[in-house]
Subunit: 165 residues, 2 copies
DNA sequence: CGTTTTCATACTCGAGTGGTAGGAATTCGG
DNA sequence: CCGAATTCCTACCACTCGAGTATGAAAACG
């Protein structure tokens, strides 16, 4: 459950392009405004172009711009473009795993995880973030004070009592 | 957004232990019943023991058993024990990232992702899976036919369902 | 004692992550 | 056409992680 630098950079760069409008933005400018290594960003932009999310032009006055309206590109689109499927279990898609014995129902848990990932990532667009006007359901999720708290697993006071290794 | 073999093995093994009850199960038996490489499973079990989720005993009649009731161990507990935080962005926790310019609100998206991950993973116990009696909200998430479909194309936001009330 | 099992350490081997370097191809203004 | 700007392409690098193997020591039993 890790969001890689590549995904993070890609999303932030596209948000910057959403805010920049239809005129081309140079990679060097994007790199500096989001604090991304310039040559690494070039590789990310190449993926985004091959994925059809941005267009580009070379030369002076060259640069990158969104290939589709910012309202029509979701965070899920970006992740799928630069990294692949939203959720996978040991390299397989959740609907393809097959468990035996008492673990059979575990597949449903992974499916539910993907449903909840999609519920957020497929319903937030670049425009939503760039304008700062996030959809209502998103505010409902983040307004819970517990949402911003780090949560560590319960400390077990049992493990010193019983058979110690 | 990848569930590693280690996590998958750990969860399935603990479900098997939940089904086995209080008597010790041998690593070799667990490995065969869930089709996990035996020596690899031993390393996973060592993490689980150090994390306080299982106890162990050596020798004949030795083996592993749950250190706590199966109802009190959630899937989130298992992931945090063998892998660390549920969700991270470039190695940092979502509440620690800091974005500038139009990407500022992106942090809220990552927070919401974590909220929805927690909504599933902190509310399903080993006992729930082992008995096959998953909590009601889980069934609600997986009963949607779209939940089991693979999705590669841009998604039109038709239904936003946050998790569990 | 010997057998069974956990436990610890070390190792391999490939893939992925996060970059960097150098230069070719294109687009522009003049 | 010239030259500058900028994208684009290929390759490379260091490091970590994922997944798994091998060997043997330590404990629990009878």
């Amino acid at each position: 459950m890790h969001i890689t630098a590549k995904v993070d950079y890609a999303v932030r760069t596209l948000i910057e392009l959403a805010a920049a409008g239809p005129s081309p933005s140079k990679a060097e400018f994007l790199a500096q405004s989001q604090t991304i290594p310039h040559k690494f960003l070039e590789a990310v932009l190449a993926d985004l172009r091959r994925g059809g999310l941005v267009n580009s032009r070379r030369g002076p006055d060259g640069g990158y711009w969104l290939a589709r309206p910012a309202e029509d590109i979701t965070i899920a689109d970006v992740i799928r473009t630069v990294e692949g499927p939203l959720a996978s279990v040991r390299g397989e898609r959740p609907e393809d795993v097959d468990y035996g014995g008492p673990a059979a129902k575990l597949q449903d848990v992974w499916i539910a995880v993907r449903v909840n990932l999609r519920a957020v990532l497929e319903n937030v667009s670049l425009a939503d973030v760039a304008t700062g006007q996030l959809p209502g359901f998103l505010g409902a999720l983040t307004s819970d004070p517990g949402a911003w708290e780090r949560r560590t697993r319960p400390a077990t006071s049992v493990d010193e009592g019983a058979a110690r290794g």
